[in-house]
């Protein structure tokens, strides 16, 4: 106990995680009970309980139809699961990018990394390589590789005389993002894809969710997030300046590479199943910072839970506000994120975070 009292961040992390985990559950419950197919709240939960081995025997399968069961188990639940994983991944990648680049406006979308990943993923799908060298992993791995390549280009563009300026890297991101976005639209257009596909990749959507997607992406996102979490103490030190971090023994260059690679891996994995959903990686860390402060050790897990909740909420809105039509989820996040970005841009006078 004595040890714990001296490390308030552990208690703070656990407390906030408990609160946000509850929020996540509430969001998931709301989301699974919402949808264009009119299934009552009670029925939904009977169906879910009916699918869990321990409760199966208590439930009476005749109280719902097969169609309803398919909707809940094969459409809504995998979609919520995927929304949680993608939201978590984008938020964690946002924390990592903001921390490593020491730039409060960085996130995978603004840096162009998401677009790069989407380009790679779309290319794989168009060429029909989904089951290529790495089996089911081909898609996320290609997305990761192209995300990494895009980040490298952005980084090189912004690197002027061994220094990266805050604003230069954002501009470099914008430039690369618009180019890659155009290239993506171009290849989709010449391959006679439906407009819907283009919108999917550019604005993001979770409409095509399947359980299999989740099982491929989840391990990548979780592993990447854990590795980033191991370096949160270093991120705190780097936040006080890279040179001073070096002088207390932090291997800044090596850690920067590890974190950028991990953030790109997570982004690639998330984008390969959801397209480019913007602004999540930027807003979530800021909300988390507002709640728990700037200590990355707390910030990272809190952002992960918050990101998952936020994306479930955004996705539920995307499929319910214009019911029965569905909005791309990126529309919802951009409606939230763009004004937020503008607000941060105005507020950023002398403060970094």
């Amino acid at each position: 106990m004595d040890n714990l009292r001296k490390r308030p961040w552990i208690i703070k992390t656990m407390g906030w995680s408990a609160v946000l985990l509850s929020l996540l559950v509430v969001m998931a419950v709301w989301s699974v009970s919402t949808g264009s197919a009119d299934i009552s709240f009670l029925t939904v939960w009977k169906i879910i309980a009916g699918g869990i081995p321990l409760f199966t025997s208590w439930m009476d399968p005749s109280s719902w139809t097969d169609a309803e069961e398919v909707i809940v188990w094969q459409i809504r639940l995998p979609r919520i699961f995927l929304a949680a994983i993608v939201g978590m991944g984008l938020a964690v990648a946002g924390v990592a990018f903001q921390g490593v680049l020491r730039n409060p406006l960085a996130d995978p979308y603004i840096l162009g990394v998401s677009s790069g990943a989407a380009f790679g993923a779309a290319l794989v799908i168009l060429l029909g390589w989904q089951q290529g060298w790495f089996g089911a992993w081909t898609l996320p791995i290609t997305a990761f590789a192209s995300a990494m390549l895009t980040l490298l280009i952005v980084y090189r563009l912004a690197l002027i005389r061994h220094r990266i300026e805050m604003d230069t890297i954002l501009l470099a991101g914008v430039v690369v993002q618009s180019f890659v976005g155009a290239a993506l639209s171009f290849i989709l257009a010449i391959s006679n894809e439906h407009m819907q596909q283009i919108v999917f990749w550019l604005m993001g959507s979770l409409a095509l969710s399947k359980w299999e997607f989740g099982w491929v992406v989840a391990p990548l996102v979780v592993a990447g997030s854990l590795i980033i979490w191991f370096f949160t103490r270093e991120l705190n030190i780097i936040a006080l300046g890279e040179e001073s971090a070096y002088h207390v023994g932090v291997e800044v260059d090596r850690i920067r590479i590890v974190l950028l690679v991990m953030a790109s891996l997570i982004t690639g994995a998330a984008v390969s199943v959801s397209g480019t959903i913007g602004f999540v990686g930027m807003i979530v860390p800021h909300i988390a910072r507002f709640l728990v402060g700037s200590d990355h050790r707390i910030l990272l897990p809190v952002s992960a839970f918050l990101g998952a909740s936020l994306l479930i909420a955004a996705d539920t809105l995307a499929r319910s506000v214009m019911d029965p039509r569905e909005l791309p989820i990126g529309v919802i996040t951009a409606f939230l994120g763009a004004p937020f970005f503008a607000f941060l841009l105005r507020r950023r006078k002398n403060k970094y975070f």
Binding site: R7, N236, L240, S244, H247, G249, V250, G293, D295
Partner: protein, 261 residues
């Protein structure tokens, strides 16, 4: 303790450092002075292993500096660079605790020993009462004090300081240098500092290294180094040199008009 032998460094064909050789003994305080562009900052960057010299070598405790791992080096030598600490919202105590990073394994959290050292240093540096304040609420001078406390928490044998008194008013300058000297005496540590203020350098340092165009111009005690003709050549001003009434060391007085000779 710290041996520098024949260090050379060029950027794009320009010699910035040329055959720099000196040593600093245990418990000694060396002041590096020289005009802008004389290579002081480059020398500090090379001494702190941020950059490699083109030629020559640097040894700490007889061991070549490149043999140290990042953490080993941070346990042996603390560096206060010009950048200082950024105003990021972490508490003063957390910032000082970062000085214990080189003593921590990646999977371990701070130990009891780390806690003890940090508390002791907070007390000694008079930061205890502001331990819970955030860095972004502090003034530049206060952040500089935190940076020094963090460097002390590394429990180094050598402390390198690159113009630690820049941007501080005279009150802060003196109290900071006094605090450093006291720490040095107590721990029998070695200090190397770049100072712009020649008078402070002469008062606080046991030996002075005067640099000129990337070379060592003079190296010795204040009396040996301070010479009106040399200072005129290097800085382009004609100073008046007097003796400090109490400390009996040479001090420099600048004058706006050249002395008629």
């Amino acid at each position: 303790m710290l041996d520098v032998k024949g260090v050379c460094k060029s950027y794009d064909g320009n010699r910035v450092l040329d055959d720099i050789t000196f040593e600093v003994k245990r418990g000694e305080c060396l002041g590096i002075i020289g005009p802008n562009g004389s290579g002081k900052s480059t020398l500090i960057r090379i001494l702190s292993a941020m950059e490699k010299p083109d030629q020559g070598e640097i040894r700490i405790h007889q061991v070549p500096i490149e043999k140290f791992t990042a953490k080993e080096l941070a346990r042996t030598m603390a560096v206060l660079s010009q950048g200082g600490l950024q105003p990021y919202p972490v508490t003063v105590e957390e910032a000082v605790m970062m000085g214990r990073y080189p003593y921590q394994k990646w999977y371990r959290q701070e130990s009891r020993e780390d806690q003890r050292v940090v508390q002791k240093i907070l007390q000694e540096t008079g930061l205890s009462e502001m331990a819970d304040r955030y860095l972004d609420e502090l003034s530049g001078g206060e952040r500089q004090r935190v940076a020094i406390a963090r460097a002390m928490a590394q429990e180094p044998d050598i402390m390198l300081l690159d113009e630690p008194t820049t941007f501080l008013d005279i009150g802060y300058q003196i109290s900071l240098l006094n605090r450093l000297k006291e720490w040095q005496r107590k721990n029998a540590s070695t200090m190397v500092m770049v100072l712009h203020d020649l008078n402070l350098a002469i008062q606080y340092c046991d030996r002075i290294l005067l640099m000129e165009k990337g070379k060592v111009c003079k190296w010795g005690s204040g009396h040996e180094v301070i010479d009106a003709a040399v200072l005129h050549r290097i800085y382009g001003v004609r100073p008046v040199i007097i003796e400090h009434p109490q400390l009996k060391v040479p001090q420099i007085i600048l004058q706006s008009e050249p002395v008629s000779s």
